[in-house]
Amino acid sequence: MYYRKYRVIIPFLLPALILYSVFVLYPYARAFYISLTSWRGTSANMPFVGFDNYRKLLDEQRFIDALTRNAQLLVVLPLFTIGIALLFASLFTQGGKGKGVKGASFYRITFFFPQVMSAVIVGILFTYVYSPNNGLLNGVLRAVGLDSLTRAWLGNPQTILWAIAAVAIWSSVGFYMVIFIASMQSIPTTFYEAAVLDGAGKWKQFKDITLPLMWETIRTSLIYIAIAALDMFTLVQVMTGGGSSGASRKAEVAAVYMYSEAFTKSRWGSASAVGVILLILTLILSVVIMRVTRRETYEF
C-alpha cells in the first residue's frame, strides 16, 4: 500500500513542483542575489556590490517620489474602494437576506464587469475619457455648466495620479461589493430580527451586527487592495503612454520605475533591488494590517 501510494503522489506532484520551482521560486530567489550586484546583463561576471543598489535607490529622488505615490495610493484606494463597496453591498442586503433591491442582479453583473476587463483596455479607454478637448469627462462637465472644472486630467501634474487612482477604484468597487454581499448574506437573519425588536435602526444594525461579523472579510480585502496599490503597473504604464516625461513623470509608481530601470536602462541590479523592496513592503504591510485591524472574532 505504502509503495502504491507514492506511485501516485510523486508523478502527480512533480509537474506542478517543477514548473513552480523553475519559473517562480528560482527567479524570486535569484532576484535577491542580482540586487546585490552591479550586473549590466552583458557580461557573465556579476560584480558584487553589497547593498550599494539599495543605498543609491534611497538617495534617488525619483524613486522616493515614486514610492511616495504608492503610499498615497495606499491610503486613497482602500478608503474609497471599501467605502463605496460597503455602501452598495449594504444597500443590496438591507436588514439581512432576501430583501433585495429592484434589479439587484442586473446591478451586480454590471458593477462587477470592469473587474474582468483587461486593465489595458480600461486604461486606454479612460485616456480618451480624460482627453482635454473631446473627452467624455470634460464634455459632461461642459454640458452641466461646470466649464471651470474642465482640464487636461492626464496632462496636469496635480490631477494625473488621482485621475488614474479614480480608474482603479472604478474598476474594483464591483468586485469587493460582490465579496461583501456574500459575507453579509452569511450573517443569520435572526440577528437582525432581534435587533429590530430591540429598536435598533439601520445604522446601528450595520455598526453593531454587520460590520463586526464581516470583519475578517474586510481585513482580507484590505490586504488585497494594499497589494494592488503597491503594483498599479498596467494602469499607470498605459495611461501615461509608457512615457515618463512631463506630467507623466508625476504618476510614476515604483513598479513603473523598476520597469524603466530594467528594460530601458539595463540596470538589472538596481531593478532587482526595487523588486526586493516591493516584496519587503508587501510583507510589512500585510503584517501591519493584520495587527492594526485585529479584533475579537465572532463565530456564528
Binding site: L19, V101, M117, I124, V129, T234, L279
Partner: protein, 308 residues
C-alpha cells in the same frame, strides 16, 4: 421567521408587547417612510453607478464605428453611418487578427496545462497523507503574496537561457507557473469536500489510482474546474506585464500587449477609429465569457476571497 414578516409588525399584531414599549413601536412605524426615502436614494445611487460603468463602454463601441473626423470633431454624436472599415483596419493593418491568434495559441496550451497540473497536485495534497504535505501547500500559497515584479528580471534572463523567450510554449509555461498558487488553493478546498466512497468502491473493484483520478475524481470536480477555467481564462487573456517582458518579437505579441503598443503608436498615426475597433474586438470575448459564466465566476472568486 423570515425578514419579510418584520414590516407586518404593527402595534395590533403584537399583543405581547401591549404593556408599553411605545418608543419601539414608533420606530417601527416611522421606518416605512424612512424606507421609502432610502429606497429612492438607493435607486438613484445604483442607477448613477450603473451609468458610470456602462457609459464608457457604450461610448467605446459607438466610437469604434465612427470616422476619424467624426471622432475628433463631433465626439458626442452618433456615427452618421457605421464605419465598419475600422474593424478591418484594426484586424489587418493594426495586426489585431494576428494578436488574437497568438493569444488563442498561448491560452489553449496554458489553460489546459494550468487545469491539469493544478488538479493533479491539488488532488494529492487534499486526499493523501504524506510527510511534507502541509509544507508543499504553504510553499504554493506563498506565491499568492509575492509580487511578480520581484522575479521579473531573473525570469527574463532565465527564458533566454532556456531558449524559450519569444516562444508560445515558453509564455504558456510561465502562465501555468504563475496560475498555480490560486488554482491549487481553490482546488484543494474543492477536492476536500468531495465524498470518498465512490473512489473507495472503485479501488475495491480493482481500479488503479490513475483510473480513480481521471475517471472518477476529475469528473466529480467539474464545477471547481470550470470555475478555475473561467478565472484563469480571464486572467491569462488580460495578462499584460509577462508578455510585455517575455514576448518582444513583434509578430508574436499577444492581444493585451499588442493593444497597449497600438495605443502608444496610434498617437502618431492618428487612426482612432481602428484603435477603438481593436479595443472592442478585445472586449468581446471577455464580455461573452463573463455573461455566460457570471454566476460560476462570482461564486469561485468569492469563495477564494472569503477563505483567504
Amino acid at each position: 421567521m423570515s425578514v419579510n414578516t418584520i414590516p407586518a409588525l404593527t402595534p395590533d399584531a403584537d399583543p405581547i408587547d401591549a404593556g408599553g414599549n411605545h418608543g419601539r413601536l414608533e420606530v417601527v412605524s416611522s421606518e416605512t417612510t424612512g424606507d421609502r426615502i432610502l429606497g429612492v436614494f438607493t435607486q438613484l445611487l445604483l442607477v448613477f453607478w450603473a451609468v458610470l460603468v456602462i457609459f464608457p463602454f457604450v461610448w467605446m463601441i459607438f466610437t469604434s464605428l465612427k470616422t476619424n473626423s467624426e471622432i475628433l470633431f463631433s465626439p458626442w454624436d452618433l456615427p452618421a453611418s457605421p464605419n465598419w472599415v475600422n474593424f478591418s483596419n484594426a484586424w489587418n493593418n493594426a495586426h489585431i487578427g494576428r494578436y488574437v491568434m497568438n493569444s488563442l495559441i498561448v491560452i489553449a496550451m496554458s489553460l489546459t496545462g494550468t487545469l491539469l497540473v493544478s488538479a493533479m497536485a491539488a488532488y494529492v495534497i487534499a486526499r493523501f497523507e504524506f510527510p511534507g504535505n502541509k509544507v508543499i501547500f504553504y510553499v504554493f500559497m506563498a506565491g499568492l503574496m509575492f509580487p511578480v515584479f520581484l522575479g521579473l528580471v531573473p525570469l527574463y534572463f532565465l527564458m533566454g537561457d532556456l531558449g524559450i523567450k519569444d516562444t508560445y510554449h515558453g509564455l504558456a509555461l510561465v502562465y501555468i507557473a504563475y496560475s498555480l498558487p490560486f488554482t491549487i488553493f481553490f482546488l484543494v478546498g474543492f477536492f476536500k469536500t468531495l465524498p470518498g466512497e465512490v473512489a473507495e468502491a472503485a479501488i475495491v473493484d480493482g481500479a488503479n489510482q490513475y483510473q480513480v483520478f481521471f475517471q472518477i475524481m476529475l469528473p466529480m470536480a467539474k464545477p471547481g474546474l470550470i470555475a478555475m477555467g473561467i478565472f484563469n481564462f480571464l486572467g491569462q487573456w488580460n495578462q499584460y506585464l509577462l508578455p510585455l517582458v517575455l514576448m518582444q518579437d513583434e509578430s508574436k505579441r499577444v492581444l493585451s500587449q499588442g493593444l497597449g503598443m497600438l495605443a502608444i503608436q496610434q498617437g502618431y498615426q492618428n487612426d482612432y477609429g481602428a484603435l477603438f475597433a481593436a479595443m472592442t474586438i478585445t472586449m468581446v470575448p471577455t464580455l461573452v465569457v463573463y455573461i455566460i459564466f457570471q454566476k460560476r465566476l462570482e461564486s469561485g472568486l468569492t469563495a477564494g476571497a472569503l477563505k483567504g
